[in-house]
């Protein structure tokens, strides 16, 4: 792969699409949630505003939200792919997207408080590349806003205060607790990514990987699929509503995965994604040109 390849341009277009347009399944879900609210209600007004905002951002090719979030890149590559080359292409695309205004200057030095001009900083962008049995590189990008990230939780079971033990009922209690704690502050209706097990760092990353799933899919594990459906149903009864203004639309969905754990540990990691659930992806040919866009 030479410097003259198309990877930089493809990653730049990935960022532009992620920042300025919602995935089809997310917009469809938001429309359905709007219809479920009473006409003339505050909740209906919020959904109207959300949908109007989505149309405007797409038409103008401008960021859906001024908080363009943490760029989380997830790549799966065939054997023999040069990962360093891909990382370099991603970083140059992030810097260009920042100059073009699709990403805000969103990386702050934690010691001095100064903003990095190009969003290239220790830990940012967040890049996760793995080899996989795939024929083409698959690249996915999630932009996760800071307000929603602040609503994430990690529980260590058993938890006496929640009366949560080391079983799926305990997990359910954790998820509902995280949702009630968040209220509308993570820009509800949110999407919850959950991981049962893992160590603390692996658990939260796996929770975020759940955001790559389509809103309409079901966990391949029947017990987790039942729990996902159940918590989605119960969230309606909480009445928190979009932006916490009251209503039925508290949650777009919940996606639950699992990792093995040590005998001593049982973590439940919950990541909150805002309604502006920005995720896009493509598969690409070896020269970096895009073969197709993923449309969950």
């Amino acid at each position: 792969m030479k410097q003259t390849d198309a990877w930089g341009a493809s990653f730049l277009e990935l960022i532009r699409r992620a920042s300025t347009d919602l995935p089809v399944d997310v917009e469809r879900r938001l429309r359905a949630m709007r219809r479920a609210e009473d006409p003339e209600s505050r909740a209906r007004w919020v959904f109207d505003t959300i949908l109007e905002n989505t149309a405007l951002a797409r038409a103008k090719s401008l960021p859906l939200c001024q908080d363009t979030g943490t760029p989380l890149f997830f790549l799966r590559t065939p054997r023999g792919t040069d990962h360093l080359h891909l990382e370099k292409a991603i970083c140059s695309a992030v810097a260009r997207a920042t100059r073009k205004g699709w990403l805000r200057q969103n990386a702050i030095d934690s010691i001095t408080g100064r903003a990095y001009a190009d969003n290239l900083a220790p830990g940012l962008p967040s890049i996760h590349i793995e080899q996989a049995p795939v024929r083409q590189v698959e690249a996915r990008l999630v932009l996760k806003g800071g307000g929603s990230e602040n609503m994430g939780m990690q529980y260590s079971l058993p938890d006496d205060a929640l009366d949560a033990g080391r079983d799926l009922e305990g997990v359910r209690r954790c998820i509902l607790d995280a949702l009630v704690r968040a209220q509308g502050r993570g820009c509800a209706p949110g999407l919850l990514g959950v991981c049962i097990g893992g160590d603390r760092s692996a658990g939260l990353l796996e929770a975020k990987r759940q955001f790559l799933r389509s809103l309409s899919d079901r966990s391949p594990d029947p017990a987790l699929a039942r729990l996902e459906a159940r918590v989605s149903r119960e969230a309606v009864e909480l009445g928190i509503g979009p932006m916490g203004f009251g209503g039925r639309g508290t949650l777009m969905g919940v996606k639950i995965g699992s990792l093995a754990r040590l005998p001593a540990s049982f973590f439940v990691s919950v990541s909150y994604m805002c309604w502006s659930c920005r995720r896009q992806g493509f598969s690409a040919r070896p020269d970096g040109t895009i073969a197709r866009w993923f449309q969950p």
């Binding site: 505050r42 007004w45 919020v46 505003t49 959300i50 109007e52 905002n53 405007l56 951002a57 103008k60 401008l62 960021p63 859906l64 939200c65 001024q66 908080d67 205004g101 805000r104 200057q105 903003a115 806003g145 307000g147 602040n150 009366d163 009922e169 359910r172 209690r173 509902l176 607790d177 009630v180 209220q183 509308g184 502050r185 820009c187 119960e234 009864e237 909480l238 009445g239 928190i240 509503g241 979009p242 932006m243 916490g244 203004f245 009251g246 805002c274 309604w275 502006s276």
Partner: protein
């Protein structure tokens, strides 16, 4: 019912509002985030008159356009970060309308009740809808000191949509909803125990 609020924001305009009401804001408002709130709280002089004014918790994305500026994304930021500063700013500077997202706390609600001020929420994430309500960027203060996102931007808005989150009597919309959701959660968890499946 949708109320109109037009600058200067007098008590006559804010006092009839009730938590949960829809409003549309017209006229001059100023942006301010963490840096400005801390500066004002610590007694810094404000270069613009805040009495009967509006303060918008927002770090806009601005681009140069000719001699002026254009807001390209301007949604609200989380207000609770300003909770330690807000009450004093309401009392000492006479700010009448605060706009943000996510809700504010009891100190702000108390100050609202004392001063006849209101806290409004715009829809979080609606950066394009809200930027389109900014009809003119009049100017900017503290840009070199605080940076663009933290600066005080003077905005003229029209038909800017928001919701009354804390009204001028100190009633907080989120308190009722939060308590109801906690009761609903307790019911959901109690049923499980009763069913014996827990």
């Amino acid at each position: 019912m949708i109320h109109r609020l037009t600058y200067p924001f007098t008590r006559e305009q804010t006092e009839p509002l009730q938590a949960g009401d829809g409003v549309r804001v017209f006229g001059l408002i100023y942006t301010g985030r963490d840096r400005l709130h801390k500066y004002l709280f610590e007694g810094g002089a404000c270069p613009v008159p805040l009495a009967d004014g509006g303060l918008y918790h927002c770090g806009p994305v601005m681009i140069r356009e000719g001699a002026g500026w254009r807001a390209v994304a301007a949604g609200p930021t989380t207000s609770i970060r300003e909770e330690p500063f807000m009450a004093r700013i309401l009392r000492e500077h006479g700010v009448r309308v605060v706009i943000g997202k996510g809700g504010m706390g009891t100190a702000t609600a108390k100050a609202c009740a004392e001063t006849g001020s209101v806290y409004l929420e715009a829809v979080g994430g609606a950066a394009q809808v809200l930027a389109s309500c900014i009809v003119r960027v009049r100017g900017v203060r503290f840009e070199s000191e605080f940076g663009s996102a933290e600066a005080l931007w003077e905005l003229e808005v029209a038909d800017f949509p928001a919701l009354v989150s804390i009204d001028a009597r100190g009633v907080n919309l989120h308190h009722r909803i939060e308590h109801a959701s906690q009761r609903a959660l307790a019911r959901l968890l109690a049923n499980e125990k009763k069913d014996g499946r827990g």
